[in-house]
């Protein structure tokens, strides 16, 4: 399995050996009892003393078993209501489980969301200390680490500002910085990186890698396939409380998109496996100077690139690159046979690099590249296709449109 984004310092010494289990989830189920008629007052209870309450059972988590290794970055993905947060809360001990068991080795972070318990009427200083105590640090330790927290969040100048005057991005920075001070071996995180500017996100990513290097285990619940693919060693897809798939993040991300958007237009049922036949071995984005980039600013020319290893002789194959935005909308489909151009003939065993250069008019967002190779013709006879193989973050102001096209603006008085 190839991942496209370089993962800095990811090869930990332990990763080749068998790792210890940090979290063992054994056939865990969780059912919520939802009363059909809620008696929420004593009066009602007194008026209907013998009417037993009927319950609807909502099986939020059904028989899930998974072992999460020490030092593993484990992603749980799924749509809203799929039970992923409930599972996380069971692991955190916020909910008790119905059946099955959960065993933990090491210290578990007690929170699942950042900034829980922040009080808008208190200053950053007070909030950080209170939050740290809530998360299990002693008051003295909290005081000692306070400067570090503020420095990491880059909020030193706002230390005595009340939180209600903070922007949401500043809040997230503060919350994240505080959470990192918790002494835990296992972190449980529910949707964290949605806010914050690009620079801070980058910092959070680096911090995640640092945690990973230190051998911390992280269980991460997200909708954001980009971060799941970028960080997670393994991921699990949940739907209606059940585990649908578990495996390498790119595959899970693909399954997730499938679940959300149905079958994708390019997808072929009988896709040749990458080990035989023609395969796409890598995909990436390049800037105008030919450097590989994972983030770039708008207006700098961008190329969608991928590498293909051919295993058969091909005449005029169709290379295509599909660019999708965060929401899964297809923004651009570039084909090598555009305008009737032919790609030529290729021998078996050749390795090709295909580049689609374009002016970058994309609005600020995260984009993914889906490269594909097909036999000559309509492009339907696909030889290889890898969904969302590479991604790039485009920075710059967003107007709200999908594209930021160059405009000739003219205002005439009539």
């Amino acid at each position: 399995m190839t991942t496209t984004i370089p993962r800095p310092a990811e090869t930990q010494p332990g990763s080749t050996q068998l790792a210890d289990t940090a979290v063992a989830i054994e056939s865990v189920s969780k059912t919520f009892r939802l009363p059909r008629q809620q008696y929420s007052t004593l009066k009602e209870r007194a008026l209907h003393p013998f009417r037993s309450t009927e319950y609807d059972e909502l099986r939020a988590v059904r028989d899930i078993s998974v072992d999460i290794a020490e030092g593993e970055f484990f992603g749980i993905v799924g749509r809203n209501g799929s039970g992923k947060s409930t599972l996380l809360k069971c692991v955190a001990g916020i909910y008790g489980v119905q059946s099955g068991r959960i065993a933990i080795a090491g210290r578990l972070s007690p929170f699942i969301e950042l900034g829980v318990g922040f009080n808008p009427d208190l200053t950053a200083r007070d909030n950080v200390i209170i939050n740290a105590i809530m998360l299990g640090i002693s008051r003295r330790q909290a005081r000692e680490r306070f400067d570090h927290v503020l420095a990491f969040a880059e909020l030193e100048e706002f230390v005595d500002l009340k939180l209600k005057n903070y922007s949401s991005g500043m809040l997230v920075r503060l919350a994240f910085a505080t959470a990192l001070e918790v002494d835990a071996d296992i972190f449980l995180i529910d949707e964290v990186l949605a806010v914050g500017d690009a620079a801070f996100q980058q910092k959070c990513f680096e911090e995640f890698f640092r945690l990973k290097r230190e051998g911390k285990t992280i269980v991460f619940v997200s909708h954001d396939m980009f971060s799941v693919e970028r960080f997670c060693d393994r991921a699990m897809l949940m739907e209606r409380g059940e585990m649908i798939e578990i495996g390498p993040p790119p595959e899970i991300a693909r399954a997730y998109h499938k679940l959300n958007f149905g079958e994708l237009p390019h997808e072929q049922a009988d896709q040749p496996s990458p080990d035989h036949g023609t395969a796409i071995t890598a995909a990436w984005f390049e800037n105008s100077t030919g450097e590989r980039v994972t983030s770039t600013s708008r207006e700098e020319a961008l190329s969608m690139c991928f590498e293909v290893r051919l295993q058969e002789e091909l005449l005029d194959p169709v290379f295509a690159a599909t660019l999708r935005n965060e929401l899964g909308h297809t923004i651009v489909v570039a084909r090598s046979d555009q305008h009737g151009a032919l790609s030529g003939s290729f021998r078996s065993g050749e390795t090709l690099t295909v580049r689609f250069g374009m002016p970058n008019w994309l609005s600020a967002s995260r984009y993914t590249l889906t490269p594909s190779v097909a036999r000559e013709g309509t492009g339907a006879d696909a030889l290889a296709l890898v969904e969302d193989m590479a991604s790039v973050m485009i920075h710059g102001g967003a107007t709200g449109g999908i594209l930021e096209l160059p405009m000739n603006i003219r205002i005439d008085r009539t």
């Binding site: 399995m1 919520f32 065993a103 080795a105 578990l108 829980v116 318990g117 009427d121 809530m134 390498p248």
Partner: protein
């Protein structure tokens, strides 16, 4: 390439030993329990203290105003307690002391009714011992009580009360009251999750208790009006016995002690038993509810 994605995670060379139990009332770590309770109470205290221009003054204004009205009414208008005998010495100080104690009781218990529900976001997002929440409300009440008692002491001393050896009893009496308040608070906060009309019910109960305790009407006045059996019943109320003992020990020995009002010292075992039963019942009910509190909110 991510190695651990390929390698099937082994069943574990070292199996995780610690089992994750669901949420609990107390949790395993008493130091964390205390740190959390103290922090929550301290935060609330700070918010009240610094939240407004007059801060602490507001906490005091209510009992003081109430005191002022009652004092004026009873001493100047109704003449109910106007120097009937030595037991009514320092009537003002006695009245103020009782009002401050009652304020502690009613604020702490009423404050804890909604406490767990109001802190929903904590309960649903962080694993921590649930009992911290009602107990932090009680602790906040203790902070306020301590400050208010200083005011009571100043008032009493300036009214001519002399320091007595029996002041050493005061921590015991307050401790007795705190245990009672904690029991009631745990009970109410756990019940409120299921029964939302606990709140108005409790407000009314507090009103009744105000008159069922020696706050406005002193024990001496009651003694003259009712049979001794009825007085003994009245004194079974832990508020009545603790307030009366407080008045006796702190202000003047001329007013009967709780033991005297109950008939004998041994009879004090009854209100003590009521307090202990309340505390244990509150603890058990909360403990039982704690497991599912996050789901039932």
């Amino acid at each position: 390439m991510s190695a651990s994605a390929q390698v099937p995670v082994p069943a574990g060379r070292r199996t995780p030993s610690r089992h994750m139990h669901g949420p609990s009332a107390l949790g395993g770590d008493l130091r964390r329990f205390w740190a959390l309770t103290f922090t929550l109470a301290r935060t609330e205290f700070k918010l009240r203290f610094f939240g407004s221009a007059l801060g602490y003054v507001w906490t005091l204004v209510r009992p003081l105003l109430f005191f002022g009205v009652l004092w004026l009414f009873f001493t100047k208008v109704a003449h109910v307690n106007n120097k009937k005998g030595p037991a009514e010495d320092f009537y003002g100080a006695q009245l103020l002391a009782s009002i401050v104690l009652f304020t502690f009781f009613s604020e702490a218990t009423s404050g804890s009714v909604r406490s767990v529900v109001d802190r929903e976001n904590l309960v649903r997002k962080i694993h921590f011992p649930r009992m911290v929440i009602p107990l932090s409300v009680v602790l906040l009440g203790v902070f306020n009580l301590t400050l208010n008692l200083i005011v009571v002491a100043i008032f009493a001393l300036s009214a001519g009360v002399h320091p007595m050896l029996s002041w050493l009893e005061l921590p015991l009496i307050i401790g007795f009251l705190v245990v009672f308040v904690a029991g009631v608070s745990m009970l109410l906060s756990a019940l409120f999750v299921h029964f939302r009309d606990i709140q108005p019910i409790w407000e009314v109960t507090c009103q009744i208790l105000l008159y069922a305790s020696p706050v406005i009407i002193s024990v001496v006045t009651i003694k003259d009006k009712v049979s001794s059996t009825l007085l003994h019943l009245y004194m079974l109320n832990p508020l009545a016995s603790s307030f009366q003992q407080f008045r006796h020990a702190f202000i003047t020995h001329a007013t009967p002690s709780a033991g005297q009002a109950l008939g004998s010292w041994a009879a004090l075992a009854a209100p003590i038993a009521i307090v202990l039963v309340t505390f244990i019942a509150g603890f058990l009910v909360f403990n039982r509810a704690a497991v599912r509190i996050a789901e039932n909110l």
